[in-house]
Subunit: 275 residues, 2 copies
Protein backbone atom coordinates (compact mmCIF):
# COMPACT_ATOMS: atom_id res chain seq x y z
CA UNK A 1 0.00 0.00 0.00
CA UNK A 2 1.26 3.49 -0.74
CA UNK A 3 0.78 6.75 1.11
CA UNK A 4 -2.68 7.18 -0.36
CA UNK A 5 -3.64 3.96 1.31
CA UNK A 6 -5.17 2.60 -1.87
CA UNK A 7 -2.09 1.01 -3.40
CA UNK A 8 -3.33 2.01 -6.82
CA UNK A 9 -0.88 2.31 -9.70
CA UNK A 10 -1.74 3.36 -13.23
CA UNK A 11 0.76 2.02 -15.74
CA UNK A 12 1.12 2.99 -19.39
CA UNK A 13 2.85 0.44 -21.63
CA UNK A 14 4.35 1.93 -24.75
CA UNK A 15 3.68 0.28 -28.05
CA UNK A 16 7.19 1.25 -29.08
CA UNK A 17 9.63 -1.38 -30.25
CA UNK A 18 11.56 -3.07 -27.48
CA UNK A 19 9.08 -2.60 -24.64
CA UNK A 20 8.89 -6.02 -23.00
CA UNK A 21 5.22 -6.85 -22.46
CA UNK A 22 6.05 -10.21 -20.90
CA UNK A 23 8.34 -8.64 -18.26
CA UNK A 24 5.68 -6.02 -17.52
CA UNK A 25 2.97 -8.67 -17.16
CA UNK A 26 5.15 -10.72 -14.80
CA UNK A 27 5.77 -7.61 -12.70
CA UNK A 28 2.03 -6.87 -12.68
CA UNK A 29 1.31 -10.39 -11.40
CA UNK A 30 3.93 -10.03 -8.65
CA UNK A 31 2.68 -6.61 -7.53
CA UNK A 32 -0.93 -7.80 -7.40
CA UNK A 33 0.30 -10.63 -5.20
CA UNK A 34 1.68 -7.98 -2.83
CA UNK A 35 -1.73 -6.31 -2.55
CA UNK A 36 -1.28 -3.57 -5.13
CA UNK A 37 -4.13 -2.67 -7.42
CA UNK A 38 -3.34 -1.68 -10.98
CA UNK A 39 -4.87 -0.19 -14.07
CA UNK A 40 -2.98 -0.70 -17.33
CA UNK A 41 -3.25 1.56 -20.36
CA UNK A 42 -1.56 0.63 -23.61
CA UNK A 43 -0.78 2.24 -26.94
CA UNK A 44 -0.50 0.59 -30.30
CA UNK A 45 0.65 3.04 -32.94
CA UNK A 46 3.30 0.72 -34.35
CA UNK A 47 0.82 -2.15 -34.65
CA UNK A 48 -1.78 0.12 -36.29
CA UNK A 49 0.82 1.35 -38.75
CA UNK A 50 1.85 -2.21 -39.63
CA UNK A 51 -1.79 -3.30 -40.11
CA UNK A 52 -2.55 -0.24 -42.28
CA UNK A 53 0.45 -1.02 -44.45
CA UNK A 54 -0.51 -4.71 -44.75
CA UNK A 55 -4.01 -3.62 -45.82
CA UNK A 56 -2.69 -1.17 -48.42
CA UNK A 57 -3.86 1.79 -46.38
CA UNK A 58 -0.69 3.17 -44.79
CA UNK A 59 -1.00 5.89 -42.15
CA UNK A 60 -0.69 9.54 -42.99
CA UNK A 61 0.42 12.03 -40.41
CA UNK A 62 -0.65 15.57 -39.70
CA UNK A 63 1.88 18.18 -38.66
CA UNK A 64 0.27 21.03 -36.74
CA UNK A 65 1.44 24.65 -37.13
CA UNK A 66 3.25 24.29 -33.78
CA UNK A 67 5.12 21.22 -35.06
CA UNK A 68 3.21 18.41 -33.29
CA UNK A 69 2.72 15.27 -35.35
CA UNK A 70 -0.38 13.09 -35.08
CA UNK A 71 -2.01 10.25 -37.01
CA UNK A 72 -4.55 11.43 -39.60
CA UNK A 73 -7.50 9.31 -38.52
CA UNK A 74 -10.20 9.16 -41.17
CA UNK A 75 -12.92 6.59 -40.60
CA UNK A 76 -11.02 3.79 -42.37
CA UNK A 77 -7.90 4.55 -40.33
CA UNK A 78 -10.03 4.53 -37.19
CA UNK A 79 -11.26 1.02 -38.07
CA UNK A 80 -7.69 -0.14 -38.64
CA UNK A 81 -6.61 1.51 -35.38
CA UNK A 82 -9.47 -0.21 -33.48
CA UNK A 83 -8.61 -3.60 -34.98
CA UNK A 84 -4.92 -3.29 -34.12
CA UNK A 85 -5.25 -1.66 -30.71
CA UNK A 86 -8.51 -3.01 -29.31
CA UNK A 87 -8.66 -6.25 -31.30
CA UNK A 88 -5.08 -7.42 -31.21
CA UNK A 89 -3.00 -5.67 -28.55
CA UNK A 90 -5.73 -5.47 -25.92
CA UNK A 91 -7.01 -9.03 -26.44
CA UNK A 92 -3.58 -10.62 -26.32
CA UNK A 93 -2.34 -8.47 -23.44
CA UNK A 94 -5.35 -9.70 -21.47
CA UNK A 95 -4.50 -13.25 -22.59
CA UNK A 96 -0.88 -12.85 -21.42
CA UNK A 97 -2.04 -11.55 -18.04
CA UNK A 98 -4.65 -14.28 -17.65
CA UNK A 99 -2.01 -16.94 -18.36
CA UNK A 100 -0.08 -15.47 -15.38
CA UNK A 101 -3.17 -15.67 -13.17
CA UNK A 102 -4.09 -11.98 -13.40
CA UNK A 103 -7.83 -11.58 -13.84
CA UNK A 104 -7.59 -8.83 -16.46
CA UNK A 105 -10.53 -7.19 -18.23
CA UNK A 106 -9.91 -5.40 -21.51
CA UNK A 107 -11.78 -2.19 -22.23
CA UNK A 108 -11.53 0.74 -24.54
CA UNK A 109 -12.76 4.23 -23.70
CA UNK A 110 -15.88 3.52 -25.76
CA UNK A 111 -17.03 0.85 -23.29
CA UNK A 112 -19.34 2.24 -20.66
CA UNK A 113 -18.40 5.77 -21.86
CA UNK A 114 -15.16 5.26 -19.97
CA UNK A 115 -13.34 8.07 -21.77
CA UNK A 116 -15.33 11.01 -23.11
CA UNK A 117 -13.42 13.26 -25.48
CA UNK A 118 -13.93 16.34 -27.55
CA UNK A 119 -13.52 15.63 -31.22
CA UNK A 120 -11.26 18.09 -33.00
CA UNK A 121 -13.78 19.35 -35.55
CA UNK A 122 -11.13 20.75 -37.80
CA UNK A 123 -7.41 20.19 -37.69
CA UNK A 124 -4.88 22.40 -39.41
CA UNK A 125 -2.19 20.48 -41.22
CA UNK A 126 0.96 22.07 -42.56
CA UNK A 127 2.25 20.39 -45.72
CA UNK A 128 5.24 21.84 -47.56
CA UNK A 129 4.65 25.14 -45.82
CA UNK A 130 0.96 25.32 -46.84
CA UNK A 131 -1.92 25.08 -44.39
CA UNK A 132 -4.79 22.71 -45.05
CA UNK A 133 -7.93 22.20 -42.97
CA UNK A 134 -8.89 18.58 -42.29
CA UNK A 135 -12.47 17.91 -41.23
CA UNK A 136 -12.77 14.12 -41.29
CA UNK A 137 -10.30 13.41 -38.52
CA UNK A 138 -11.57 11.12 -35.74
CA UNK A 139 -9.22 12.01 -32.95
CA UNK A 140 -9.88 13.88 -29.77
CA UNK A 141 -8.80 15.17 -26.41
CA UNK A 142 -10.13 13.39 -23.33
CA UNK A 143 -12.29 15.58 -21.13
CA UNK A 144 -13.85 13.13 -18.70
CA UNK A 145 -13.12 9.73 -17.22
CA UNK A 146 -16.07 7.76 -15.93
CA UNK A 147 -14.58 6.16 -12.88
CA UNK A 148 -17.51 4.02 -11.55
CA UNK A 149 -16.89 1.28 -14.12
CA UNK A 150 -13.16 1.18 -13.30
CA UNK A 151 -13.84 1.23 -9.57
CA UNK A 152 -16.41 -1.56 -9.86
CA UNK A 153 -13.89 -3.70 -11.75
CA UNK A 154 -11.09 -2.97 -9.26
CA UNK A 155 -13.40 -3.77 -6.35
CA UNK A 156 -14.38 -7.01 -8.07
CA UNK A 157 -10.72 -8.04 -8.12
CA UNK A 158 -10.20 -7.39 -11.83
CA UNK A 159 -7.28 -5.58 -13.44
CA UNK A 160 -8.58 -3.19 -16.13
CA UNK A 161 -6.55 -2.98 -19.35
CA UNK A 162 -7.52 0.10 -21.34
CA UNK A 163 -7.09 0.71 -25.09
CA UNK A 164 -6.76 4.34 -26.26
CA UNK A 165 -10.13 4.92 -27.88
CA UNK A 166 -12.66 7.41 -26.55
CA UNK A 167 -16.25 8.37 -27.25
CA UNK A 168 -17.13 11.87 -28.50
CA UNK A 169 -20.09 13.79 -27.14
CA UNK A 170 -21.84 12.88 -30.42
CA UNK A 171 -21.23 9.18 -29.83
CA UNK A 172 -18.36 8.76 -32.30
CA UNK A 173 -15.33 6.60 -31.60
CA UNK A 174 -12.13 8.64 -31.44
CA UNK A 175 -8.43 7.86 -31.44
CA UNK A 176 -6.80 9.42 -28.36
CA UNK A 177 -3.24 9.66 -27.10
CA UNK A 178 -2.50 6.74 -24.77
CA UNK A 179 -0.06 8.65 -22.51
CA UNK A 180 -2.61 11.35 -21.88
CA UNK A 181 -5.37 8.75 -21.45
CA UNK A 182 -3.26 7.13 -18.72
CA UNK A 183 -2.69 10.54 -17.13
CA UNK A 184 -6.41 11.38 -17.12
CA UNK A 185 -7.30 7.95 -15.69
CA UNK A 186 -4.66 8.29 -12.94
CA UNK A 187 -5.98 11.72 -11.99
CA UNK A 188 -9.62 10.62 -12.05
CA UNK A 189 -8.90 7.59 -9.85
CA UNK A 190 -6.68 9.65 -7.54
CA UNK A 191 -3.91 7.15 -8.07
CA UNK A 192 -0.79 7.85 -6.06
CA UNK A 193 1.60 7.00 -8.89
CA UNK A 194 1.48 6.99 -12.67
CA UNK A 195 4.21 5.04 -14.45
CA UNK A 196 4.92 5.67 -18.12
CA UNK A 197 7.02 2.79 -19.44
CA UNK A 198 8.85 3.52 -22.65
CA UNK A 199 11.77 2.52 -24.89
CA UNK A 200 14.18 4.89 -23.12
CA UNK A 201 15.72 4.96 -19.65
CA UNK A 202 13.64 8.01 -18.73
CA UNK A 203 13.59 11.70 -19.61
CA UNK A 204 16.92 12.75 -21.11
CA UNK A 205 18.29 16.28 -20.88
CA UNK A 206 20.13 15.80 -24.18
CA UNK A 207 18.31 13.19 -26.24
CA UNK A 208 19.55 10.56 -27.18
CA UNK A 209 22.46 10.75 -24.68
CA UNK A 210 21.48 8.21 -22.02
CA UNK A 211 24.00 9.75 -19.64
CA UNK A 212 21.87 12.87 -19.52
CA UNK A 213 19.00 11.14 -17.65
CA UNK A 214 17.08 13.52 -15.40
CA UNK A 215 16.47 11.53 -12.19
CA UNK A 216 14.07 13.96 -10.59
CA UNK A 217 11.97 16.93 -11.56
CA UNK A 218 9.44 19.18 -9.87
CA UNK A 219 6.14 20.13 -11.51
CA UNK A 220 7.34 23.76 -11.39
CA UNK A 221 10.22 22.84 -13.73
CA UNK A 222 8.10 20.89 -16.17
CA UNK A 223 7.54 23.59 -18.78
CA UNK A 224 11.26 23.53 -19.57
CA UNK A 225 11.15 19.75 -19.79
CA UNK A 226 8.26 19.90 -22.25
CA UNK A 227 10.30 22.30 -24.41
CA UNK A 228 13.37 20.07 -24.27
CA UNK A 229 11.56 16.75 -24.86
CA UNK A 230 11.77 15.22 -28.33
CA UNK A 231 9.00 13.56 -30.34
CA UNK A 232 6.78 11.15 -28.41
CA UNK A 233 8.47 12.09 -25.14
CA UNK A 234 6.81 15.50 -25.35
CA UNK A 235 3.37 13.87 -24.95
CA UNK A 236 4.61 11.85 -21.98
CA UNK A 237 5.78 14.99 -20.20
CA UNK A 238 2.51 16.72 -21.08
CA UNK A 239 0.69 13.69 -19.66
CA UNK A 240 2.83 13.87 -16.52
CA UNK A 241 1.90 17.53 -16.11
CA UNK A 242 -1.82 16.78 -16.51
CA UNK A 243 -1.65 13.92 -14.02
CA UNK A 244 0.19 15.97 -11.39
CA UNK A 245 -2.13 18.94 -11.85
CA UNK A 246 -5.01 16.48 -11.47
CA UNK A 247 -3.80 15.28 -8.06
CA UNK A 248 -1.46 12.38 -8.81
CA UNK A 249 1.53 12.64 -6.46
CA UNK A 250 4.28 11.36 -8.70
CA UNK A 251 4.84 10.32 -12.27
CA UNK A 252 7.64 7.92 -13.16
CA UNK A 253 8.93 7.84 -16.74
CA UNK A 254 10.95 4.64 -16.93
CA UNK A 255 12.43 1.95 -19.11
CA UNK A 256 10.00 -0.69 -20.35
CA UNK A 257 12.68 -2.80 -22.06
CA UNK A 258 14.25 -4.28 -18.90
CA UNK A 259 13.30 -7.06 -16.51
CA UNK A 260 11.18 -5.99 -13.52
CA UNK A 261 10.36 -2.70 -15.26
CA UNK A 262 7.67 -1.61 -12.81
CA UNK A 263 9.62 -2.50 -9.69
CA UNK A 264 12.74 -0.79 -11.07
CA UNK A 265 10.68 2.34 -11.71
CA UNK A 266 9.25 2.24 -8.18
CA UNK A 267 12.78 1.88 -6.79
CA UNK A 268 13.91 5.08 -8.46
CA UNK A 269 15.36 4.11 -11.82
CA UNK A 270 14.17 6.49 -14.54
CA UNK A 271 12.75 9.95 -14.06
CA UNK A 272 10.49 10.83 -11.14
CA UNK A 273 8.34 13.94 -11.44
CA UNK A 274 6.71 15.24 -8.27
CA UNK A 275 3.87 17.66 -7.70
CA UNK B 1 -40.56 -8.02 -17.05
CA UNK B 2 -41.07 -11.61 -18.05
CA UNK B 3 -42.23 -14.60 -16.07
CA UNK B 4 -38.81 -15.04 -14.49
CA UNK B 5 -39.20 -11.58 -13.06
CA UNK B 6 -35.77 -10.53 -14.25
CA UNK B 7 -36.70 -9.30 -17.71
CA UNK B 8 -33.40 -10.60 -19.00
CA UNK B 9 -32.99 -11.36 -22.69
CA UNK B 10 -29.89 -12.77 -24.32
CA UNK B 11 -29.70 -11.86 -27.99
CA UNK B 12 -27.33 -13.26 -30.59
CA UNK B 13 -26.75 -11.10 -33.68
CA UNK B 14 -25.59 -13.02 -36.70
CA UNK B 15 -22.64 -11.73 -38.63
CA UNK B 16 -24.35 -13.00 -41.78
CA UNK B 17 -25.04 -10.68 -44.65
CA UNK B 18 -28.28 -8.79 -44.39
CA UNK B 19 -28.68 -8.77 -40.61
CA UNK B 20 -29.57 -5.18 -39.77
CA UNK B 21 -27.40 -4.09 -36.84
CA UNK B 22 -28.95 -0.61 -36.79
CA UNK B 23 -32.51 -1.98 -36.47
CA UNK B 24 -31.36 -4.35 -33.74
CA UNK B 25 -29.63 -1.53 -31.84
CA UNK B 26 -32.75 0.65 -32.06
CA UNK B 27 -34.85 -2.21 -30.75
CA UNK B 28 -32.34 -2.75 -27.92
CA UNK B 29 -32.61 0.93 -26.94
CA UNK B 30 -36.43 0.77 -26.94
CA UNK B 31 -36.55 -2.44 -24.88
CA UNK B 32 -34.10 -1.05 -22.31
CA UNK B 33 -36.42 1.94 -22.03
CA UNK B 34 -39.22 -0.48 -21.14
CA UNK B 35 -37.19 -1.92 -18.26
CA UNK B 36 -35.76 -4.96 -20.00
CA UNK B 37 -32.18 -5.98 -19.38
CA UNK B 38 -30.18 -7.42 -22.23
CA UNK B 39 -26.96 -9.18 -23.03
CA UNK B 40 -25.85 -9.16 -26.67
CA UNK B 41 -23.58 -11.74 -28.25
CA UNK B 42 -22.31 -11.28 -31.79
CA UNK B 43 -20.51 -13.31 -34.42
CA UNK B 44 -18.19 -12.09 -37.10
CA UNK B 45 -17.16 -14.90 -39.42
CA UNK B 46 -17.83 -12.89 -42.57
CA UNK B 47 -15.76 -9.95 -41.31
CA UNK B 48 -12.92 -12.26 -40.25
CA UNK B 49 -12.96 -13.92 -43.66
CA UNK B 50 -12.83 -10.54 -45.42
CA UNK B 51 -9.94 -9.34 -43.23
CA UNK B 52 -8.01 -12.57 -43.77
CA UNK B 53 -8.44 -12.22 -47.52
CA UNK B 54 -7.37 -8.56 -47.46
CA UNK B 55 -4.25 -9.58 -45.51
CA UNK B 56 -3.39 -12.38 -47.94
CA UNK B 57 -4.23 -15.03 -45.35
CA UNK B 58 -7.63 -16.37 -46.41
CA UNK B 59 -9.47 -18.72 -44.08
CA UNK B 60 -9.26 -22.47 -44.44
CA UNK B 61 -12.02 -24.69 -43.22
CA UNK B 62 -12.00 -28.06 -41.53
CA UNK B 63 -14.62 -30.68 -42.36
CA UNK B 64 -15.07 -33.18 -39.54
CA UNK B 65 -15.77 -36.87 -40.22
CA UNK B 66 -19.45 -36.22 -39.33
CA UNK B 67 -19.62 -33.42 -41.91
CA UNK B 68 -19.44 -30.33 -39.67
CA UNK B 69 -17.45 -27.43 -41.07
CA UNK B 70 -15.41 -25.07 -38.92
CA UNK B 71 -12.74 -22.42 -39.37
CA UNK B 72 -9.19 -23.75 -39.13
CA UNK B 73 -7.83 -21.37 -36.51
CA UNK B 74 -4.05 -21.40 -36.35
CA UNK B 75 -2.48 -18.62 -34.29
CA UNK B 76 -2.34 -16.16 -37.20
CA UNK B 77 -6.00 -16.83 -38.00
CA UNK B 78 -6.83 -16.32 -34.33
CA UNK B 79 -5.18 -12.88 -34.44
CA UNK B 80 -7.14 -11.98 -37.57
CA UNK B 81 -10.34 -13.28 -35.95
CA UNK B 82 -9.67 -11.21 -32.80
CA UNK B 83 -9.00 -8.07 -34.84
CA UNK B 84 -12.17 -8.47 -36.90
CA UNK B 85 -14.50 -9.65 -34.17
CA UNK B 86 -13.23 -8.00 -31.01
CA UNK B 87 -11.51 -5.00 -32.62
CA UNK B 88 -13.96 -4.02 -35.31
CA UNK B 89 -17.41 -5.55 -34.83
CA UNK B 90 -17.46 -5.29 -31.03
CA UNK B 91 -16.04 -1.75 -30.88
CA UNK B 92 -18.39 -0.34 -33.48
CA UNK B 93 -21.44 -2.20 -32.19
CA UNK B 94 -20.75 -0.59 -28.81
CA UNK B 95 -20.33 2.77 -30.59
CA UNK B 96 -23.69 2.31 -32.40
CA UNK B 97 -25.42 1.48 -29.12
CA UNK B 98 -23.78 4.37 -27.27
CA UNK B 99 -24.94 6.78 -29.99
CA UNK B 100 -28.50 5.58 -29.21
CA UNK B 101 -27.99 6.21 -25.50
CA UNK B 102 -27.37 2.56 -24.54
CA UNK B 103 -24.50 2.30 -22.06
CA UNK B 104 -22.91 -0.74 -23.70
CA UNK B 105 -19.70 -2.42 -22.55
CA UNK B 106 -17.83 -4.63 -25.00
CA UNK B 107 -16.19 -7.79 -23.75
CA UNK B 108 -14.84 -10.99 -25.13
CA UNK B 109 -14.77 -14.28 -23.27
CA UNK B 110 -11.10 -13.66 -22.46
CA UNK B 111 -11.99 -10.67 -20.28
CA UNK B 112 -12.39 -11.61 -16.65
CA UNK B 113 -12.34 -15.31 -17.73
CA UNK B 114 -15.91 -14.75 -18.88
CA UNK B 115 -15.97 -17.84 -21.08
CA UNK B 116 -13.79 -20.80 -20.19
CA UNK B 117 -13.48 -23.41 -22.90
CA UNK B 118 -11.78 -26.68 -23.56
CA UNK B 119 -9.35 -26.44 -26.43
CA UNK B 120 -9.73 -29.20 -28.98
CA UNK B 121 -6.24 -30.65 -28.71
CA UNK B 122 -6.48 -32.44 -31.99
CA UNK B 123 -9.07 -32.07 -34.69
CA UNK B 124 -9.66 -34.59 -37.45
CA UNK B 125 -10.10 -33.05 -40.85
CA UNK B 126 -11.35 -34.94 -43.87
CA UNK B 127 -9.83 -33.73 -47.13
CA UNK B 128 -10.60 -35.52 -50.38
CA UNK B 129 -11.64 -38.56 -48.39
CA UNK B 130 -8.39 -38.67 -46.37
CA UNK B 131 -8.19 -38.01 -42.65
CA UNK B 132 -5.62 -35.59 -41.29
CA UNK B 133 -4.97 -34.66 -37.65
CA UNK B 134 -4.63 -30.94 -36.93
CA UNK B 135 -2.90 -29.95 -33.69
CA UNK B 136 -2.44 -26.19 -33.96
CA UNK B 137 -6.13 -25.27 -33.97
CA UNK B 138 -7.16 -22.61 -31.45
CA UNK B 139 -10.86 -23.28 -31.16
CA UNK B 140 -12.81 -24.73 -28.32
CA UNK B 141 -16.06 -25.65 -26.67
CA UNK B 142 -17.30 -23.45 -23.84
CA UNK B 143 -17.55 -25.24 -20.52
CA UNK B 144 -18.11 -22.46 -18.04
CA UNK B 145 -19.53 -18.94 -17.97
CA UNK B 146 -18.35 -16.69 -15.19
CA UNK B 147 -21.50 -14.81 -14.40
CA UNK B 148 -20.36 -12.40 -11.62
CA UNK B 149 -18.78 -10.01 -14.14
CA UNK B 150 -21.92 -10.01 -16.32
CA UNK B 151 -24.17 -9.59 -13.29
CA UNK B 152 -22.05 -6.72 -11.95
CA UNK B 153 -22.30 -4.96 -15.30
CA UNK B 154 -26.05 -5.53 -15.58
CA UNK B 155 -26.57 -4.27 -12.03
CA UNK B 156 -24.47 -1.20 -12.85
CA UNK B 157 -26.87 -0.38 -15.69
CA UNK B 158 -24.57 -1.49 -18.49
CA UNK B 159 -25.48 -3.63 -21.48
CA UNK B 160 -22.76 -6.25 -22.07
CA UNK B 161 -21.83 -6.95 -25.70
CA UNK B 162 -19.87 -10.18 -25.97
CA UNK B 163 -17.46 -11.25 -28.75
CA UNK B 164 -17.01 -15.01 -29.35
CA UNK B 165 -13.56 -15.59 -27.91
CA UNK B 166 -12.92 -17.78 -24.88
CA UNK B 167 -10.01 -18.64 -22.63
CA UNK B 168 -8.68 -22.20 -22.41
CA UNK B 169 -7.74 -23.78 -19.10
CA UNK B 170 -4.12 -23.20 -20.17
CA UNK B 171 -4.77 -19.48 -20.65
CA UNK B 172 -4.92 -19.51 -24.46
CA UNK B 173 -7.38 -17.43 -26.44
CA UNK B 174 -9.79 -19.60 -28.43
CA UNK B 175 -12.28 -19.02 -31.20
CA UNK B 176 -15.72 -20.29 -30.13
CA UNK B 177 -19.07 -20.56 -31.84
CA UNK B 178 -21.15 -17.44 -31.16
CA UNK B 179 -24.55 -19.17 -31.18
CA UNK B 180 -23.40 -21.65 -28.58
CA UNK B 181 -21.69 -18.87 -26.59
CA UNK B 182 -25.03 -17.07 -26.47
CA UNK B 183 -26.76 -20.29 -25.40
CA UNK B 184 -24.27 -20.93 -22.60
CA UNK B 185 -24.54 -17.32 -21.38
CA UNK B 186 -28.35 -17.46 -21.41
CA UNK B 187 -28.33 -20.68 -19.40
CA UNK B 188 -25.73 -19.41 -16.91
CA UNK B 189 -27.66 -16.17 -16.31
CA UNK B 190 -30.96 -18.08 -16.12
CA UNK B 191 -32.37 -15.80 -18.80
CA UNK B 192 -35.99 -16.43 -19.64
CA UNK B 193 -35.52 -16.05 -23.39
CA UNK B 194 -32.67 -16.47 -25.85
CA UNK B 195 -33.16 -14.89 -29.28
CA UNK B 196 -30.99 -15.98 -32.19
CA UNK B 197 -31.32 -13.39 -34.97
CA UNK B 198 -30.27 -14.59 -38.38
CA UNK B 199 -30.60 -14.02 -42.13
CA UNK B 200 -33.64 -16.31 -42.41
CA UNK B 201 -37.23 -16.06 -41.18
CA UNK B 202 -36.62 -18.86 -38.68
CA UNK B 203 -36.13 -22.59 -38.81
CA UNK B 204 -37.35 -24.01 -42.12
CA UNK B 205 -38.61 -27.56 -42.54
CA UNK B 206 -37.46 -27.59 -46.18
CA UNK B 207 -34.59 -25.15 -46.54
CA UNK B 208 -34.62 -22.71 -48.41
CA UNK B 209 -38.44 -22.76 -48.80
CA UNK B 210 -39.57 -19.86 -46.59
CA UNK B 211 -43.11 -21.24 -46.63
CA UNK B 212 -41.90 -24.22 -44.62
CA UNK B 213 -41.22 -22.12 -41.50
CA UNK B 214 -41.66 -24.10 -38.29
CA UNK B 215 -43.48 -21.72 -35.91
CA UNK B 216 -43.13 -23.82 -32.79
CA UNK B 217 -41.15 -26.76 -31.57
CA UNK B 218 -40.74 -28.66 -28.31
CA UNK B 219 -37.35 -29.62 -26.91
CA UNK B 220 -38.44 -33.27 -27.29
CA UNK B 221 -38.66 -32.78 -31.07
CA UNK B 222 -35.34 -31.02 -31.40
CA UNK B 223 -33.18 -33.98 -32.42
CA UNK B 224 -35.14 -34.23 -35.67
CA UNK B 225 -34.74 -30.51 -36.20
CA UNK B 226 -30.97 -30.77 -35.73
CA UNK B 227 -30.92 -33.52 -38.37
CA UNK B 228 -33.00 -31.46 -40.78
CA UNK B 229 -31.19 -28.14 -40.27
CA UNK B 230 -28.72 -27.04 -42.93
CA UNK B 231 -25.29 -25.48 -42.49
CA UNK B 232 -25.05 -22.74 -39.86
CA UNK B 233 -28.64 -23.37 -38.76
CA UNK B 234 -27.51 -26.68 -37.29
CA UNK B 235 -25.39 -24.84 -34.71
CA UNK B 236 -28.27 -22.57 -33.83
CA UNK B 237 -30.52 -25.52 -33.12
CA UNK B 238 -27.74 -27.17 -31.13
CA UNK B 239 -27.39 -23.89 -29.20
CA UNK B 240 -31.14 -23.83 -28.62
CA UNK B 241 -30.99 -27.36 -27.24
CA UNK B 242 -28.12 -26.46 -24.88
CA UNK B 243 -29.90 -23.34 -23.67
CA UNK B 244 -33.18 -25.17 -22.98
CA UNK B 245 -31.40 -28.05 -21.26
CA UNK B 246 -29.60 -25.40 -19.20
CA UNK B 247 -32.83 -23.89 -17.90
CA UNK B 248 -33.76 -21.22 -20.47
CA UNK B 249 -37.51 -21.34 -21.02
CA UNK B 250 -37.70 -20.49 -24.69
CA UNK B 251 -35.42 -19.90 -27.63
CA UNK B 252 -36.56 -17.78 -30.56
CA UNK B 253 -34.85 -18.19 -33.93
CA UNK B 254 -35.93 -15.15 -35.90
CA UNK B 255 -35.22 -12.82 -38.78
CA UNK B 256 -32.52 -10.20 -38.16
CA UNK B 257 -33.01 -8.45 -41.51
CA UNK B 258 -36.30 -6.70 -40.70
CA UNK B 259 -37.26 -3.61 -38.72
CA UNK B 260 -38.03 -4.21 -35.03
CA UNK B 261 -36.38 -7.64 -35.22
CA UNK B 262 -36.37 -8.28 -31.47
CA UNK B 263 -39.92 -7.14 -30.90
CA UNK B 264 -41.14 -9.16 -33.89
CA UNK B 265 -39.42 -12.23 -32.45
CA UNK B 266 -41.02 -11.64 -29.04
CA UNK B 267 -44.43 -11.30 -30.72
CA UNK B 268 -44.12 -14.74 -32.28
CA UNK B 269 -42.63 -14.26 -35.72
CA UNK B 270 -39.96 -16.87 -36.42
CA UNK B 271 -39.51 -20.18 -34.65
CA UNK B 272 -40.15 -20.60 -30.93
CA UNK B 273 -38.60 -23.59 -29.19
CA UNK B 274 -39.85 -24.43 -25.72
CA UNK B 275 -38.44 -26.61 -22.98
Amino acid sequence: MDENGNGLLVIKLGGTEGVDFQAICQDVAALLGEGRRLVLVHGGSAEATALGEALGYPPRFITSPSGHTSRYTDRRTLEIFAMAVNGKINTFLVEQLQALGVNAVGLSGVDGRLLLAERKESVISVENGRRRIIRDDFSGKIEQVNTPLLRALLEGGYTPVVAPLALSHQGETLNVDADRAAAMIAAALKAHTLILLTAAPGLLRHFPDVNSLIPELKLAQIEQAIEAAQGRMKKKVLGAQEALQGGVQRVLIADGRVDFPIRRALKGEGTAIFA
